[in-house]
């Protein structure tokens, strides 16, 4: 038997007859017109060029500085609070050092602290954010765009590295390139009456909160800083604030502290140091934190059981009374004041911050 199949023949593709040049020109004009309109619309919504989206490749650039640095620098790990509330230029001004900023929104710092302890020989100062409900929970968080973050910096392919460089250039030129304003993010957030998920629906997700420059300097987005719809939404997204969420169970807090204590011990054993910082929060968010993760059961124990130094914003006059527009992050002005205050405390305590760095890490 011998059937003839198309696999036996040279592939010749049919090119349909149509007016290609006319199609190409019209499609190009329409595309450019639509893109121009979209870009203008996005700018009118407050998006700006040079506001850099985070991604595994972008974070990897910062992470690799640990290996490239002088090992006497400063590394920040944490969630969004220490990320938005730290002004890196104030660090530079006061200490001559620009910290390696590794904090990630919506993510527990514990795996990252452990990675610094176990995967590096870093012997400088690690500043670790404590956002109580995140830090002492068993949930590591990690937003979908950050999955694999811990591996990418090591395994990043040449193609990804190159693509990141192209991406940075595009983000410097176009404001519409913003993860939180991608087509389907916008569609999924259309408000739906009687959503199947009720208050867990995507409308109540956290939306765009911050702007970021290339060295991962984050600040609260000015549209969220100002009173209005986006600020109200941001506040609502941190809910619910009633008793729907139970307090963190003691065994979960025990496990979190034991995990951190091990990391602190390893970093100290090689001459490094870890300090914990509890940045400000406000309003119903703060009330829920005080109820679900009270200071005595979490913060005080953390310092006692790790033997580490910590800065709780409540204990310093200069860190109280700052602006917390959406109850979780400081305004840009307050971030500078908060940074100056906590870096001042650290500088008093750590001699190494009073001497100039041996060599500033590249970048």
């Amino acid at each position: 038997m011998s059937h003839h199949h198309e696999q036996d023949d040279v592939t010749v593709r049919e090119i349909p007859k149509t007016r290609y040049a006319a199609i190409a020109w019209l499609a190009l004009v329409l595309f450019l017109a639509a893109m121009t309109a979209w870009e203008l619309k996005m700018r009118s919504l407050g998006l700006r060029t040079g506001d850099i989206d985070d991604s595994p490749s972008h974070w990897a650039v910062e992470r690799r500085k640990i290996e490239e640095g002088d090992h006497d620098g400063v590394v920040i790990v944490g969630s969004s609070r220490i990320l938005f509330d730290t002004d890196l230029s104030v660090w530079k001004e006061v200490t001559g050092r620009t910290p390696i900023q590794l904090a990630l929104p919506g993510t527990s710092p514990r795996p990252y602290l452990r990675s610094v302890a176990e995967d590096t020989d870093f012997a400088g100062l690690v500043v670790c954010d404590v956002t109580p409900e995140m830090f002492f929970s068993k949930f590591i968080g990690a937003l979908p765009q950050f999955v694999g973050m811990q591996d990418t910096w090591r395994d990043e392919s040449p193609s990804e590295k190159f693509g990141h460089q192209v991406d940075l250039r595009l983000q410097r030129a176009f404001a519409f390139l913003e993860n939180e304003y991608s087509l389907f993010r916008l569609i999924e957030r259309i408000v739906v009456e009687d959503d199947r998920l009720g208050p867990d629906g995507p409308y109540y997700d956290v939306w765009k909160l911050s702007v970021a420059s290339e060295n991962r300097q984050y600040f609260l987005w000015n549209r969220v800083e100002q009173p209005g719809y986006l600020q109200e939404h941001a506040r609502a997204a941190w809910g619910p604030f009633g008793n729907e969420r139970p307090p963190l169970p003691k065994d979960m807090i025990d496990a979190a502290i034991a995990d951190v204590a091990e990391s602190v011990r390893k970093i100290r054993a090689r001459g490094g140091e870890v300090v914990f910082i509890r940045p400000p929060s406000a309003g119903p968010f703060l009330e829920r934190e005080n109820r679900n993760a009270p200071r005595t059961a979490t913060w005080d124990r953390l310092l006692r059981e790790t033997g580490a130094f910590g800065i709780h914003y409540e204990d310093y006059a200069a860190m109280r009374g700052l602006e917390v527009p959406e109850w979780s992050h400081l305004s840009r002005n307050s971030a500078a004041r908060f940074t100056r205050a906590y870096v001042g405390v650290l500088r008093e305590r750590y001699v190494r911050l009073r001497t100039p760095p041996v060599a500033e890490p590249a970048g």
């Binding site: 036996d8 090119i15 199609i23 190409a24 019209l26 693509g163």
Partner: protein
């Protein structure tokens, strides 16, 4: 590198320019070969060595087989065994090593021997299943006397490595591609623009429909650890059915488009599979280059339908089970293939009993059978997507309505989004069932085509895909 990355856009622009410069034909082919190696190495440079090894081994073996064509079958067969051993050895080590060890461990434990498999930390070389099948088809064709060895090593190496098909197909045959390298090729203006149009269409399928529209709904449902309700189970599975089609058909369309821009033709890999009536029809429309490969190099050599009825059923099942395993080192893939084998065998049995050949008469009958086919194909996708049999069972229970108390997983907007996109995909495929895209475009007013192209490109751009890998890269 992946087609939906900024790196590829830059790479492809450079390759196009290079290919249109006035170099001699051999130099152009050499450029394409080097570009293809760069394309592969941009993912993980050391694995280029595997690709070279596979290329060189099969080059010499095919010549060895051909040189011994007048000798005994045993001599030729021993050459072939070396080729199969090397190729299957590579793929067995990198892709199935851990799977084999784990199953050996389980087997030993079941007979009371405690043995713990060593830690297996081997990265799967991207596309190994595809280029292994390409090189194997070459030696097999020479062995079976279907073709002679390729005359020039450059043409052969380019056939194996040509970047549009290298990492996820279509799995080309020597007969389809190698003769195209013999004479100078340059795309005409129309072919170039048609190729670019196909690239835009493929990116639209991948970036907008698969990644933007469907992936997160499928991910949410298949990640569930609690019982899944009827609506969520079906929508999650339908979303995956749309995602895997748009992901893979999108890849194949981009592959065809990029090759066309360079002046080469690659075969179709998909022809409206969700409009299939019955399963043999489905496999003539889904991943055509794999199904024909399995037919020509596995099913027919096993005896095909030339033996007894029973033997035909056995051959069908074996082919589909191995086809399932080709996709991944997991029993869930074997179950996926086995289910398709059962469907094909069942259809064959029904056709033999009823004497019905071809499609049934009447639109309602055809439509009903097409929907039944699609629904049953969706059941197989559950095994393909689920990471364990427990996960698959959870979804299947939901689809059967056995978890009425389950909490909703997908928000209303996700339900609307998935329902709209999947319906659009299935209706489009039904309307295009017996037509080609080329035919449609030739009959559509030019300005409509322009508006559709611009809309797709606009959607791709504002979806801002982050270069997610294609699903089939892991196979």
């Amino acid at each position: 590198m992946v087609f939906n990355s900024l790196t590829f856009l830059v790479f492809f622009a450079l390759v196009l320019v290079l290919h249109r410069l006035p170099f001699p034909w051999t130099a152009k082919k050499f450029n394409l070969l080097v570009a293809s190696y760069v394309f592969y190495a941009a993912w993980n440079p050391p694995f280029i060595l595997l690709l070279w090894a596979s290329t060189v081994v099969d080059w010499y073996i095919a010549r060895g087989i051909y040189a011994s064509r007048d000798k005994s079958r045993a001599v030729r067969r021993s050459w072939l065994v070396v080729s199969v051993a090397v190729n299957i050895g590579f793929i067995g080590f990198f892709k199935y090593g851990e799977f084999l060890l784990q199953n050996w461990q389980a087997l030993m434990q079941s007979v009371g021997v405690v043995w713990v498999a060593p830690e297996w930390d081997i990265v799967l070389p991207v596309g190994i299943s595809f280029y292994t099948f390409v090189t194997l088809s070459y030696t097999l064709d020479v062995y079976l006397g279907r073709s002679k060895p390729i005359g020039k090593f450059l043409d052969y190496a380019l056939f194996v490595t040509f970047f549009p098909h290298l990492v996820a197909g279509p799995i080309v045959r020597p007969t389809q591609l190698v003769p195209q390298f013999e004479t100078p090729k340059q795309a005409s203006r129309d072919a170039m623009l048609w190729g670019l149009g196909l690239i835009v269409l493929g990116l639209f399928e991948k970036v907008v429909l698969a990644d933007g529209g469907l992936a997160n709904a499928a991910d949410k449902v298949f990640a569930a650890t609690e019982p899944v309700g009827f609506v969520d189970a079906w929508l999650g599975t339908l979303a995956f059915s749309g995602q895997i089609f748009c992901d893979f058909a999108g890849y194949s369309t981009i592959a065809v488009g990029t090759a066309l821009c360079l002046g080469f033709g690659l075969p179709d890999n998909f022809r409206m599979p969700y409009a299939a009536i019955g399963f043999s029809d489905f496999w003539r429309r889904w991943h055509i280059s794999l199904s024909t490969w399995l037919r020509d190099y596995l099913y027919i050599p096993l005896g095909g339908n030339r033996g007894t009825e029973l033997r035909t059923y056995v051959n069908l099942m074996l082919t589909m089970l191995l086809g399932g395993l080709w996709h991944g080192a997991s029993w869930t893939f074997v179950a996926w293939g086995g289910l398709h084998g059962l469907y094909l065998a069942g259809e064959r049995w029904v056709r033999a009993k009823t004497g019905v050949t071809g499609d049934p008469a009447g639109l309602p009958n055809r439509l009903a059978l097409a929907l039944l086919t699609y629904a049953l194909v969706n059941v197989t996708w559950v095994f393909f997507r689920a990471e364990s049999f427990g996960g698959a069972a959870r979804i299947l229970e939901g689809m059967a309505g056995l978890a009425p108390e389950a909490k909703p997983i997908l928000a209303t907007m996700f339900v609307v989004k998935v329902a709209a996109i999947v319906t659009a995909i299935v209706v489009t495929q039904w309307l295009m069932r017996n037509r080609s895209l080329e035919d449609l475009v030739a009959r559509t007013p030019w300005w409509v085509t322009a508006v559709v192209c611009a809309a797709m490109l606009f959607a791709v751009t504002i979806t801002q895909g982050s270069g997610q890998a294609f699903i089939y890269f892991q196979f």
